[in-house]
Symmetry: C2
Subunit: 331 residues, 2 copies
């Protein structure tokens, strides 16, 4: 039986590191888990200028000096070509689009994506990536991602050279849509969408620690996401969407959306890939495919994981991690 | 415009009054809202003997002397005919069946309903009602009610004279099933299943105050429940399933299921029936049909409601009521 596993350092192409004091802890913790992270820009205020990109990168590196950090900025308005070039120079590789009001700090989101087509044309020109939170506002919660796909299809047609990532895919239709589009359209997959369904949020008692956007959905949706992750298709790669919230924001009458998965993501991935007998595809999923898509060098350093049980703490850095209190097989 | 509405005193054919100190408050509050309540037996310990039925009735009446109280007992084992007669004598009109583990205090539930068929045969003989929490354990949360219907159909065939209530119907399939069965098969409808969907629990932020079993489901399910309530079909009548939990049990990493609706149920019903232009059917839904089904006299006393806005308090008796903080039109 396999007792040890060597992987290239994992790359997390979608993480929320928050800000202030919390950032210090979350960045440190991410530095222990990943070789590279791509940090999301939905802080308050949002990361939406070259200066803020630079500052955010410096803050993250101050806490985790060995972490390779890719930055994003928020597509909450149109930008000039000059601004975008400056973003790029300061470390941004992608512009993140949040539709209005669909998740944490998205009240400044754009209501109509066509309004920012001028900027999206510039992204294509400058070879910056468009990163999408793919949920349609104002529709029934289980239909939000499915109903967003029309925008992805239109973007792909309108900007044929633009690299686009549909982040944290969560439903059958999204997986099928990404597969059907050209190779410059990819998707990230989180650990929690590989293992959770609505049953883990509202099936038994109410479990706010598993509540997030997009929602983990039906078993058939989870199965489609799993099939994509275990397929060896380079369009699907790892982005944790690790999104910690302080315990009191979770235990609330208006509970915050987000799963804190960074500290457990790789051990759970190993467990799931092992279960499906697909460990041979894990290095690509967790590290190589994302690097190739973002046109950065693959990791050359390795990390070694051992089969040794450990119990996930009830809280880490004040937030409840995924599978808190449960036993994981790999460390 | 209608400014005043007279209704027979409302009958709530499904309420949780809890126990101990909490019972005193909840029973008092129910006494202000309803002429009659049928109290559910899932206390701890469960109401499952003639003595406990008698004691529970006395406790409720001590807190709310003017309330007419029907009792239930828990179908967590087989009973003798003598025991059932004693239950009946002490005020019980229905036996409540909870499948194993589907809701609050159902860990003593029966795993296989056929195991208690001997008792169900006696219920039929003694003309006691079988009250069902209709959810199948161990299946995906949104399928639990649908997958339970096979048991209802089998019960209806096996015990053709037995009166059965499928409590708190919440999905299209359940509404259709009840309609298709003989007239001794009825269903209660709650206020919250008339107005909520999953959007109100997990659509935006997480709202534990709206989390309950069975889950409010898709818009099409809510619409089917609404159509049944507004149809004038005597098989569908009001049972609030008002199920208060202390705030701290709701704001938890293992949040309790139940909506506290008793203090707002009738005002919301008036609002919804008015919206659908069906106020002429409300007296039957909220009072007469249930009385007829349970073979008790219809209410002769009246209650008068006035169109006067009021704001629902954030908490009532330590629990968050349905529509807390919102404005209702009728009082």
């Amino acid at each position: 039986m396999l007792q040890e596993l060597e992987l290239p350092l994992p790359n997390d192409f979608h993480i929320h590191l928050r800000q202030g004091e919390a950032l210090v802890n979350y960045a440190k913790s991410a530095g222990e888990q990943f070789g590279l992270v791509m940090a999301m820009p939905n802080t308050e205020p949002a990361i939406d200028s070259p200066e803020l990109v630079k500052k955010y990168k410096e803050e993250i590196l101050a806490a985790a000096p060995n972490l390779q950090v890719l930055l994003t900025f928020k597509l909450n308005k149109n930008y000039t070509e000059q601004e975008l070039l400056a973003m790029q120079k300061n470390g941004a590789v992608a512009a993140k689009y949040y539709p209005f009001g669909v998740t944490t700090n998205s009240q400044d989101g754009v209501s109509k994506i066509e309004d920012i087509y001028p900027t999206i044309a510039l992204l294509e020109k400058l070879d910056l990536v468009l990163s999408l939170h793919g949920e349609e506002p104002g529709v029934f919660c289980l239909d939000k991602e499915k109903d967003f796909l029309k925008h992805l299809e239109k973007l792909s047609k309108t900007f044929p050279k633009l690299r686009i990532v549909l982040e944290h895919v969560s439903c059958v239709e999204a997986v099928e849509c990404v597969k059907s589009l050209p190779e410059n359209i990819a998707a990230t997959i989180t650990v929690h969408h590989l293992i959770l369904t609505l049953d883990d949020i509202i099936g038994d008692s109410l479990r706010p620690q598993n509540f997030c956007k997009p929602l983990p959905k039906l078993p058939k949706d989870r199965d489609a996401v799993r099939a994509a992750a275990f397929s060896g298709n380079k369009k699907f790669f790892f982005g944790s969407d690790s999104a910690p919230h302080a315990l009191e924001k979770k235990q609330s009458l208006s509970g915050a959306a987000g799963v804190y998965s960074a500290p457990v993501a790789v051990p759970i991935l190993i467990e799931e890939f092992e279960k499906e007998n697909k460990l041979n595809l894990l290095a690509d999923f967790v590290s190589n495919f994302g690097a190739d898509f973002y046109k950065i060098p693959r990791q050359t350093k390795k990390a070694t994981y051992v089969k040794k049980e450990w119990q996930v703490p009830k809280t880490i850095d004040g937030a409840v991690p995924l599978r808190a209190g449960e036993t994981l097989k790999w460390s």
